[in-house]
Symmetry: C2
Subunit: 357 residues, 2 copies
Amino acid sequence: MAGRVTIQDVAAAAGVSPSSVSNLLNNRVDKMVPATRQRIERAIAELGYRPNRAARQLRSGRTQTLGLVVPSVGNPFWGAFAREVEVAALKLGGNVLLCNSERDPGRERRYVEELWEDGIRGIILCTSLPSLDHVADVIEDGLRLVTFDRPAQANDPRSVVSISIDNQVGGHLATTHLIDLGHERIAFVSGSLRSVNRSARYRGYCDAIEAAGLSVSEMPVWTGSETGEFGDVEAAGFGRAAAASLFSGEQEPPTGVVAVNDMTALGFCRGLRDAGLTVGTDVSVIGFDDIILADLYDPPLSTVRQPIAEMAQLAVVEASASPGNAAEPGRSVLLRPQLIARRSTAAPVGAVTSSPA
Amino acid sequence: MAGRVTIQDVAAAAGVSPSSVSNLLNNRVDKMVPATRQRIERAIAELGYRPNRAARQLRSGRTQTLGLVVPSVGNPFWGAFAREVEVAALKLGGNVLLCNSERDPGRERRYVEELWEDGIRGIILCTSLPSLDHVADVIEDGLRLVTFDRPAQANDPRSVVSISIDNQVGGHLATTHLIDLGHERIAFVSGSLRSVNRSARYRGYCDAIEAAGLSVSEMPVWTGSETGEFGDVEAAGFGRAAAASLFSGEQEPPTGVVAVNDMTALGFCRGLRDAGLTVGTDVSVIGFDDIILADLYDPPLSTVRQPIAEMAQLAVVEASASPGNAAEPGRSVLLRPQLIARRSTAAPVGAVTSSPA
DNA sequence: TGGATCTGGTGCAACGATGCACTAGACGAT
DNA sequence: ATCGTCTAGTGCATCGTTGCACCAGATCCA
């Protein structure tokens, strides 16, 4: 039967006290003669001893388990991220408790509090809310909170670590890509912009538009209703609705579209097809995230890739940081996104860059 | 500061012993006068008491945390399932520890053992391996193992509960759909068939083919290399390779294709496009699972849907079953899959059912 | 040689909840 | 009054680990 060997058994086998075994286990080896250490290590190996987590946590108040709060692992982007987080945690000997917030601030708060009360001291919170007020109490109590996909805000609690790509650069990258291809009427499509990263992407879009000598005010920007749903599952629906709206004939339609993420972009593509248009030929579409389906789509979707594995690794390290370096300041890490050009973007019909007469 | 109130505090506040509080907490209320019970409940509410999980687990050996072992949450199907599992666990007051096996039997075993040794007594294992030998020890020790997406096998340990759709029916459904549309040359595309559910889907395919008076031996069946990779990420690559192979001109190509899952189907569609063919017009393709992208794809992918939410709910209930009803036998639950016809399937060109004259 | 200092380790009381074995007191039967 | 029985609730040892406070023995210095 597994899980039966205790620290006492190891101590007896090695001819030392349980305290010494504990000392070894907790790296208090400075005062221990090498021979003793080896005896204990031998005993541990021979008995196949594994410390009891519950006892450890009860006594020390610490745990190797991380909390991961994502909007929904049902969304391919978050699923991919969750996987990388688990991989990274495994490397550090930790586990991951999975929570789906459905982007509901109330659920976010409840999860964070519950995890905290269960003794979990490190949480990776994937939220795009501008404020962290709803979890401020717990942070003050000592929670190591790492936010992902949400750049730091001025009034965030000091200890918070933020990991994100530079969304403004990403938005710029996507938009410039379309401009370089020759597009001059470029739409921006998103659900509500009340999220930090979305508005940053939008800012990057605006910058690029202006830098090209175009005027944002003349561009078709579709941001759903400001008060509407925020879900990830709904993102595709948004995109579809946006396409229907922008190509309804009420205004001059765009030749290029920057979507706030791949799900929205995919939905937009579907909407284009509904309207009898062809993606990549009639209209260029670029997304954001590079989810697995982007490359599978027909046509393969151009997008801005987030370095998910690297970010997950960073997040796990920060969330696992030993409380020893308690003075460690909060900070913000912005990684650089990467443009992935595929077939959903091309020169606009009749553009200068297309085949010569 | 949260998590500070102990059972002693509650006992003191209610004027009873800690034992009585514990009795209430553990539903040993048969011997307790209602007034006492109410006093305790009041105290709990007023102090905001929450039992310490670690202490509980240490003492009782029980925990509310479930282990979930999926091939990879990066795969949209597993991501969607994981989400539903978490939702169901939440309803029962439980948590979910996430593990990605990458379909590696060694990792599966290590995860299961580790979870067991950490005191977790219920695990939902998403595996397609024909044998459960690699985790038999732990099951014997008392683990409540629920397998998902893997129908029970004759020599499975008795206590194992299996939850799955009826894959054979699913394969039959998909194939019959194509036959009904008029197809007579129907391929089956899969990675290795060394998995229980895939071979069941294949059996359903065979049944349907034979039932239609056609001959399986004349059908193009593509199953990758029997010894090849098994991954979910690779599934799309398989599909693409299969399309390249089946339309290389070496043999008469199929007009309809049954893919073993949606990722493979999507990859196949991409392969068709590589070959200059149009999905739904030149070739009909049907997948399996109904992942979120199936409906977004161009054209929307016909598929066989698994009732994920219902299955997740069932799995969680079984994995959380109190050890009280220890005599409860293992069993197998097969849910019925549902055909979702979309635009990737249509009558074959020149078929009787197409436009007359 | 006595006392200070250092080294390598041990003793033990927690951490917070559990649940078996027990009992104080009420009640009934004789 | 004595004894049994029942009810409602309590005492206490225990789960496995931790880490502070302590200590025996060796070494050093005057």
